[in-house]
Symmetry: C2
Subunit: 344 residues, 2 copies
């Protein structure tokens, strides 16, 4: 089958690899119908050292179940399913608490045994714990929004929960990528009154406004901090969604948080420490977040997608087939695309 591999920074190739197959009795074999490229895929695209073997890519997908192992109970051949960006058993102590990203028997996509989402098919370990059956046809018009439940919409929701967004609160979103934009949707969905998006790209700002952003801050660094303070009566935002991951963006996030407020960080940290330890302490700012347990959120968010109350699929502004994936990476890295959907 064909699948995407990354061999180093800027070096993405689509190649023929061994067919995905069942190994364990708890596996499902899923033929991909939709996948996508993630902002987090751009970290290795910028920094990965060159390798000979390559790394299998893709951790967001929807597909049709082609076969299941003998112990699989909740999905069957022919089901259309969405997968979270990590697989999990659904039964361990963390899964039961809704923190499937810390599953004691879970793992990530992208090894040769497990395959990656940017390919023709995937072996899904722990299929019962991992997959959620979708009650629609494989080419339903809602497919882009349903696909975001695999990662970015759940991640934006996680940022909003970690930042303790509540009705009437003032929210700021640092990062205007797909996750930040989904964070705007999540903040609005949770009842935020004022939603300030920090961003400067016209297409993203337009979308942010349509998703519910009430204010746009185009400045950066100290000027951005100053501007947010002006917009919030000099107090800062109750809830700040950090959707980038650089130390500098965390610094901005902490600097625009109101005393007693919270930062929800979902941008994968690129630095070993969190800045402003003293300032955030004296302001009693809470720092939460991490990889989103999107498996826990799919059931919560799915009705809103199915009934059209949220349309996170609008973050996709480009569609490609599998052979076009390398171009998709380039477009996202050059900020010519917010997020690329893949139809193998």
């Amino acid at each position: 089958m064909r699948a995407t591999l990354m061999y180093g920074a800027g070096d993405v190739r689509v190649e023929t690899v061994p067919d995905a197959r069942l190994i364990e009795p708890t596996d499902a074999l899923v033929r991909i119908t939709r996948a996508c490229i993630c902002g987090s895929d751009l970290w290795p695209y910028r920094k990965m050292p060159a390798t000979d073997s390559g790394r299998r890519m893709g951790h967001e997908f929807i597909g049709v179940v082609d076969a299941v192992g003998r112990d699989v109970r909740t999905v069957r051949r022919g089901d259309l399913v969405v997968a979270p960006f990590v697989w999990s058993d659904g039964t361990c102590v963390f899964c039961r608490e809704g923190l499937q990203t810390s599953c004691l028997h879970g793992g990530g996509w992208g090894s040769p045994d497990v395959d990656g989402g940017q390919g023709e098919a995937v072996r899904v370990p722990q299929a019962d714990g991992t997959l959620v059956v979708l009650p629609v046809g494989r080419d339903d018009v809602l497919m882009p929004s349903l696909l975001t439940l695999s990662d970015v919409m759940g991640t934006g929701h996680h940022a909003a929960l970690a930042a303790r967004v509540e009705p009437g609160k003032t929210v700021a979103v640092v990062g205007d990528g797909a996750v930040g934009l989904c964070g705007v949707i999540a903040a609005r969905r949770l009842g935020a009154e004022q939603i300030i998006m920090l961003g400067r790209h016209a297409d993203r700002i337009t979308l942010a406004r349509e998703f519910g952003a009430t204010d746009i801050v185009r400045e950066r660094g100290d000027e951005a901090i100053e501007r947010v303070r002006e917009l919030t009566g000099d107090l800062g935002a109750h809830s700040v969604l950090e959707c980038v991951g650089y130390e500098e963006s965390v610094r901005t996030a902490l600097s625009i948080t109101r005393a007693g407020g919270a930062v929800g960080r979902v941008g994968v940290p690129q630095d070993p420490s969190i800045p402003l330890a003293k300032e955030s302490f004296f302001d009693n700012i809470t720092i939460g977040g991490g990889p989103a347990p999107v498996r826990a959120y799919i059931e919560e968010l799915l009705p809103d997608v199915l009934e059209g109350r949220i349309q996170p699929g609008r973050v996709f502004d480009r569609v490609t087939n599998l052979e076009g994936v390398p171009d998709g990476y380039r477009a996202m890295n050059d900020r010519k695309s917010i997020k690329v959907m893949v139809e193998p």
Copy 2:
């Protein structure tokens, strides 16, 4: 009047200073009956550069109201009152939210105009917002425990809340000083099932056990982390109270926190950044806390002290008069005393 001043590291003197007096109509003049030395006073005791003018010391006290300004409504001459470690107006947006440490019109003790608690008397700004009247006599046997409501008991409570202690949870406490010991009391009071104290001083360990600690970890560094993991089924503690403030103790705290758990930090940070940004992210650990809004907690904790359900006053293991304050600093710094009470 006599008051305590610090002139630099290790240099504490009791001197004659101008008498405390009313300045604003919202002031009260309080004659100190009990004060104490705080673990946070030891930071300047170790690091403060030498000065000619000296810094007025002390931010925890109980006293009798000697006079009030014409706008003061809730306290009157003769009342016995306890003061939080910062003063606050009680009416600003943060005070109304219970975050009096961020009061827009508040401040700290220890300027020449405001005086410090380790002295004969104090001018209390914003008396209505700051002071709480105590329904006991000035030499009541409960005085030591009531005095802890000024800081350490409220701070231990804040750490426990920030670490999200709840009934049935596993708690670890980093730091066996007075705040850590009060953290044990707070954790037990909030229903924690297992309370692990990290400490190595016999007197403190004894007290921790009496306060409710179920396990003691005497190891340090990696060995302490290993030991806590053993005690928690290799998962870590749901709630970790960081009551020290060094980067190393924050590192320990984060390393013994269970995935999805929380660290409540109340030790004043001595370093500019928080370590383990990536590890804490991938484990979805929440980092909260800061200076405790003890003003908000006095009313909550006071009944438990008055009815004897908690006895935080047991952290005092030495009493001195005002002239003995320099010796008290030395004893606490040498760890010969957990906490020193001052009876001017």
